[in-house]
């Protein structure tokens, strides 16, 4: 079996590329989750949750080339679906927060896994329904349509008081995510993305991205291949939402809007939009810069003077850094280098 696979990929050297480098990256991520502690616990957990979301986003954006402004709505859908099931640590407050829930859900608090499954299913179903319509669009029209999804979802969830507590927040959601479990989810998301992008569906979708006309001529059906990526990525982003609810223990609709959409897209594009390694690198880079700036914001000593930057300094510096980065490296940190993309096996013609 092994020998067969090796022959397929052209010998041991390629085999190491296929197996070793990705395994190393995954091990590093899980290792980071394992050692994280102290003041970095929350930062690392948050970063891992973001990584799930950005990797999910990558599955669609990276492979299809369509920039989606809509994926954060799947994060919200997943987060609230999980909260509907797992809330609350104090059972009697559930009917208070969420009076619109059906009777049988109002008095139970399901385990986290059930919430996770619900998040995956709901975001997947919604994505499939919407995707069926809008995956026919390409380019900027498709991007605007995805932005439409975000706006519609945001408007509904902000005003659906009985199910989302409207503009106030749902809290007392049991906290079930620590850095280690979050890192396992991140690794799993990366693995799924890697398997997808090396499957025939992923290769077909990238062909459509690079040349729609030629790939149509070669027999690739555009809408279904986009739809598969869209649904898969929505599911993973939805799971990211569920993780967010299990990490913070409190949810507000406002957090799932424009700012987060751009932060996650920014991470992906800074890392390198068409590379899974880039998605990971982008999350690490921007989180790293943010952590560094946050440390600066508490004050630092320069010579003999103690400097304490005004609030907003951290954000301004991050903004300037992002502009500089885009100027110096417009194709992103990794360009299109990707340890998770394997050479397409060439079969002998019979």
């Amino acid at each position: 079996m092994t020998a067969g696979v090796c022959a397929w990929y052209g010998g041991w050297r390629d085999m190491t590329r296929v197996a070793v480098a990705p395994a190393l990256v995954l091990a590093c991520i899980v290792g980071l989750g394992l050692v994280a502690g102290g003041s970095l616990t929350e930062t690392v957990t948050e970063m891992m949750v973001r990584m799930v979301v950005v990797v999910g986003l990558y599955i669609f954006v990276g492979n299809s080339g369509i920039i989606s402004f809509g994926h954060i709505s799947f994060m919200a859908i997943g987060a609230y679906a999980a909260a509907w099931l797992t809330c609350c640590t104090l059972p009697m407050v559930k009917p208070l927060y969420l009076p619109g829930l059906p009777e049988w859900l109002q008095n139970t608090a399901e385990p986290f896994w059930t919430g996770l499954a619900a998040a995956a299913i709901l975001s997947g179903v919604v994505a499939a329904a919407i995707g069926l319509a809008i995956m026919r669009l390409s380019g900027i029209a498709a991007s605007i349509a995805t932005f439409g999804i975000l706006a519609v979802e945001f408007n509904i969830y902000s005003n659906w008081d009985s199910m989302t507590a409207g503009t106030s927040s749902v809290s007392n959601i049991p906290i079930s995510i620590d850095p280690f479990s979050a890192s396992l989810f991140a690794a799993a998301a990366i693995l799924i993305a890697a398997v997808y992008q090396n499957s025939r569906f992923g290769v077909a979708l990238r062909a459509v991205r690079d040349d729609a006309v030629a790939s149509k001529a070669a027999g690739i059906r555009v809408v279904p291949s986009r739809l598969i990526a869209f649904v898969l990525s929505a599911i993973i982003v939805g799971v990211g939402g569920a993780l967010q609810s299990g990490f913070l223990g409190t949810l507000t609709v406002d957090t799932f809007y424009f700012q987060l959409t751009f932060l996650t897209l920014g991470m992906l594009i800074v890392g390198g939009i068409s590379s899974l390694t880039g998605a990971i690198a982008g999350v690490l880079l921007i989180t790293g810069v943010t952590v560094g700036l946050r440390a600066l914001e508490t004050g630092f000593v320069l010579g003999t003077i103690k400097i304490r930057p005004p609030s907003g300094f951290q954000e301004v510096t991050l903004g300037v850094a992002m502009v500089l980065f885009m100027i110096l490296r417009p194709a992103g940190a990794t360009k299109s280098f990707d340890v998770f993309r394997f050479p397409i096996p060439h079969r002998k013609l019979k």
Binding site: A133, L137, V213, S311, E315, V316, V323
Partner: protein
């Protein structure tokens, strides 16, 4: 009937506002394929340029609002300067990059501007009564119309006429349209890229300044993210209208303004809160039916 006439005026003034924003975004977008997400923050800068930095909840203005000329001058200068500086420092250097890179750059520029405003003025919204006398309704028989609506509609009409003249009849306008149709070809034929882009940013900035004044008078409060929603609607208008077409951008803005105002007036009470969901539902539907926009431009047609 009265309600309908009033709604129509609401629609027209909201539509004019969106049309102006769409025009400002569309000018740059048509030429550089740059989705300027910082545009909303240009609008915000305009409003903040009028006040003295402080932590107070009520803003103190630099000049009294009675000095109309001075107010307009300050706002226009501030916005144009910010627009030109962001072009010089950021957008110029990514001109050849892919749309995604341009987009993140413009977002980062906007993020920087917004947080610089927070750094200087704090994040707290401030009340600022600019020209509040324009909010008193005028009576036209049974119809009561705030003077501001008339000002908005008139200003927009004048600006649109001026823009049409500039774009159709002057050499700069022709160069801008040429650059929007095919930037490289226009350069080969002698259009100076730097100055024509600079001009587009100046005009786009002036439009943002006008929007800023109108919106500021309307809501009477400045806050660091006051421009974001306008920018989003403007951007959507550009795409709905047809990329690369300025009249399309205006049409898109007017239509979205009309849809919003009509839905606001005629949706039943229980679902009125979901107005934006309906508006964006209509937008998605329009895109599905007309993916290239309402006004189709041959130059931007994909050649298949």
């Amino acid at each position: 009937m009265i309600l309908f006439a009033q709604t129509l005026l609401d629609a027209l003034s909201l539509g004019s506002l969106y049309a102006l924003v769409a025009l400002g975004i569309g000018l740059i977008f048509g030429m550089l394929r740059l989705v300027n997400f910082a545009y909303g923050d240009f609008i915000t800068v305009g409003a903040y340029s009028l006040i003295i930095p402080s932590t107070a909840a009520t803003a103190t203005m630099i000049v009294e609002s009675a000095h109309v000329g001075a107010v307009v001058f300050i706002v226009c200068t501030a916005v144009v300067v910010v627009a030109l500086v962001s072009e010089l420092l950021a957008f110029r250097h990514v001109r050849q990059a892919k749309p995604a890179t341009l987009m993140v750059t413009s977002f980062a520029v906007g993020y920087t501007i917004q947080n610089a405003i927070i750094m200087i003025y704090t994040s707290r919204p401030k009340s600022l009564g600019l020209w509040s006398e324009l909010l008193t309704p005028l009576d036209f028989g049974p119809l009561r119309v705030p003077a501001l609506q008339i000002v908005t509609i008139l200003t927009t009409s004048i600006l649109l006429l001026a823009m049409t003249f500039l774009v159709r009849r002057t050499r700069y306008g022709v160069q801008m349209r040429a650059a929007a149709a095919d930037f490289d070809m226009a350069r080969y034929l002698g259009v100076r890229a730097g100055s024509i882009i600079g001009l587009a940013f100046i005009m786009s900035g002036l439009l943002a300044a006008v929007v800023s004044l109108l919106v500021e008078t309307q809501i009477g409060v400045v806050s660091p993210n006051m421009g974001v929603n306008l920018m989003l609607f403007g951007f959507v208008s550009v795409v709905i209208g047809g990329i690369g077409s300025l009249s399309g951008a205006v049409l898109g803005g007017l239509l979205i303004g009309f849809a919003s105002a009509l839905l606001q007036a005629y949706l039943p009470d229980g679902v009125r809160a979901f107005r934006d969901a309906f508006v964006f539902g209509l937008i998605i539907l329009t895109l599905l039916l007309k993916p290239a926009g309402l006004v189709r431009v041959t130059a931007t047609k994909e050649r298949i």
